[in-house]
Symmetry: C2
Subunit: 225 residues, 2 copies
């Protein structure tokens, strides 16, 4: 049975790939763009050779990582739109986006070459998010003075969890679970702050998307003379 063996091989390869991606996401969240390839491979429990057979370059691995993160973000928004209840949909979008574990990837934005596909997915995600916010506004369940960019910023702020990362790095797995529970409480607090009606008006006018448009660009030469 040759095909069975082939299938088993493929399954193992896929398992390795998934472990690799999960490890990469975690390590990047902890170490930022300086994350070393060896660290990622070790965390995934594979050798660097295995990593390099799948991703010929560190940058390609990071690109794939970002691509998946953008997919997650788009999915979170689309799932939110699929809900009938506008608030429930919004809630799902925000929670899923924050908890997708992709929050640390903002750290490598600007260090990789952005592909067409990535920017297209990002645009679709932003459009879906905008629609989600509009719908929640129309139903008067989301406070009127927040805009979609406020939400994006909030997601970014909550997307990383320095505490969980540090506890993971210190190997205090016993505390990690408690930290994640605590994180969900913080998310719930933020969501309550977003409900209509607003108890107090927000300062300054709502920010525009231009804040994030620079996000996915190559960095200029560092302090060129």
């Amino acid at each position: 049975m040759e095909s069975a063996r082939k299938a088993a091989r493929r399954a193992e390869v896929e398992r390795n790939d998934r472990a690799l991606l999960r490890a990469a996401r975690a390590v990047v969240a902890e170490d930022g763009a300086h994350a070393a390839v060896a660290t990622i491979a070790a965390r995934a429990g594979v050798g660097v050779g295995t990593l390099y057979r799948r991703y010929p370059t560190k940058e390609q691995l990071f690109q794939h990582l970002c691509s998946l993160a953008l997919d997650d973000y788009l999915r979170a928004a689309e799932e939110g739109l699929a809900h009938d209840d506008p608030w429930r949909g919004f809630e799902h979008y925000l929670t899923a986006a924050v908890l997708s574990g992709t929050g640390g990837l903002g750290a490598i934005a600007g260090t990789i070459t952005v592909t067409e596909e990535m920017s297209a997915t990002a645009a679709r995600g932003d459009a879906a998010a905008e629609e989600l916010v509009r719908r929640a506004h129309d139903a008067a369940v989301l406070r009127a003075d927040v805009g979609p960019v406020d939400i994006a910023l909030l997601i970014e702020q909550l997307g990383r969890s320095p505490l969980v990362e540090q506890l993971t790095q210190q190997g205090r797995t016993d505390l990690v679970e408690a930290a994640e529970h605590a994180r969900r409480r913080v998310i719930a607090v933020a969501l309550d702050g977003l409900r209509a009606p607003a108890p107090t008006p927000l300062p300054d006018p709502p920010p525009g998307w231009e804040l994030f448009s620079e996000r996915w660009r190559l960095p200029d030469g560092p302090t060129a003379p």
Copy 2:
């Protein structure tokens, strides 16, 4: 006038020191614990020699940085307690702690030796924060289901601003101001989510301080067999 000259020297030295500390805080926020000494010196506009005359070691610089950050935190809490209005005091504490610009220092916790003074200041800050929360609870202005550790975690989450850091690094100073305004809006949203009465109960029981007690410890050997 010898003393005048001496005073001028001292003034310049002090200016240098302040620039150094501010640069160090910014660079650490952006690069984490891997922040290079040369980067800090360059950002401050001085040579590495000047930096090393003041701080004989990178670790000593980082320790001083953390010490100042803990002072800021303690001051924020004490200023909050000085307010007559419990909510205003709480608001001041949270806002000041978040905006003190010391949020990025959690990244170097665990990489430096913690001094007695640091842990003492941290303890005093936590005690003051706890008192602040208790007072706000008694006045029924703070939602009853959040505890002081929830607040500490929220401060940590909002303390860093990846977006502002990236924009700074890219030299888009024009957008930085807008990003900071947007950040204040997010803080305001979070504060509204903390007001009593709570629209929805929070999940899980409130976390305890043990989540943070491991924060200021030396890291164990990495993945010891």
